[in-house]
Amino acid sequence: MHELVVISGKGGTGKTTLLAAFASLARKKVLCDADVDASDLHLIMNPRIHQRHDFKGGHTALINQDKCTGCGICRDVCRFDAINENFKVNPLSCEGCGVCHYFCPEEAVDLPQKTCGEWYISDTRFGPLAHARLGVAEENSGRLVTLIRKQGKELAERMGLDLMLTDGPPGIGCPVIASLGGATAVLIVAEPSLSGLHDMERVAQLAHGFNVPTMTCVNKFDLNPDQARAIESMAERKNVAVMGRIPFDPIFTKSMIMGRTLFEYDSQSNGALSVKSIWEKVFKSLKNHCEKNKKLPD
């Protein structure tokens, strides 16, 4: 079982469009949308949901006003300013640490677990999809990322599929960290701008810390060929393999509007052809990494 995680550091570089395109090229695979905070893959995949589960996240303090005597201890011990002068908890500030629950002399503070999202197992025209939706303003997205990747892997094993394509989250924080552990390889989709260079460097450093083999490709390279070259040479210095370039092509937007992958929309376009050549290289490199690591678990 091997897993390719596609991430970007910076948002909006074309990560999901690329992953959807890979999905129409790869055979025998499971798809996993681990960008649980703003998942978009389903807009192209049009999934038929088979299983729907609640995601139980963190806890939030709840003060029982009948028991509360207004002594104020909870407000004193709370580090997150989550309890107001009327002893109401602001769920957006509450960290769920339970310190108020522990110290309340009246046992007036409950700490119920929240349902903070849903996850799904679905069918798509490109194979099974594990995906999730984190509720707005919720935390624990890292844990939901871990959960959905695990569900995807189990699904792959049950169905005898040996590849998982994972659409990862942007950034470098908790959800990205959760998407890297145990991955076979990572592909960073970069864009040729100063921001793209800066973000790519940070996310590559993170992937390096996880010891995951890392690859990159530059999307819309012709918007600034100098920056594209700068990204590629930085990648080489950081031991990140450069897989190719994709020209700026309006079919990225046009195909998205139709809910189609690049190849379904126009397989002969410049954009699609360059994505195809990148996929072939990425797939080859995945197979190589996998053979090298055969002895390891997972």
């Binding site: 963190g58 624990n140 890292g142 844990r143 990322v145 871990t146 908790c174 960290i177 959760a178 552990g181 145990g182 678990p297 997972d298």
Partner: protein, 119 residues
């Protein structure tokens, strides 16, 4: 000596559970008498983070000196080291068979974790 085995079930005939922190049961076995106690690990199993840490603390309280399991992540490994519990990874089969193998000196100990950290 008391040893701990991660287990899918409550008795010695249960298969070894490959995961340590998120194992349904942790079985503490006296290697001389084969008397055992099955610890319900559901609290750790459902923990957000640090399931292995909680599980390590639990078997440490029960006096285990050795852990037989499948995979052990870095935090659990650090915790087990601090508790002076030796770890054998990649153990498979039934719990009883794992204990027999341990008694026969057929188990080798690990000096590092063999699984990724979970977030």
């Amino acid at each position: 000596m008391k040893i701990a085995v991660s287990s899918t079930g409550k008795d010695l005939d249960s298969p070894v559970e490959p995961r340590f922190g998120r194992a349904p049961y942790l079985i503490i076995v006296d290697t001389d008498t084969l008397e055992f106690e099955a610890l319900d690990n559901s609290a750790s199993m459902n923990a957000f983070k640090g399931a292995g840490i909680q599980a390590a603390a639990m078997i440490s309280r029960k006096g285990a000196r050795v852990l037989l399991t499948g995979y052990c992540g870095p935090k659990a490994f650090e915790a087990l080291e601090a508790a002076k519990i030796k770890v054998a990874n990649n153990v498979t089969g039934k719990v009883k068979e794992a204990v027999t193998a341990f008694n026969g000196g057929l188990i080798s100990f690990s000096d590092r974790p063999n699984a990724e950290a979970h977030w």
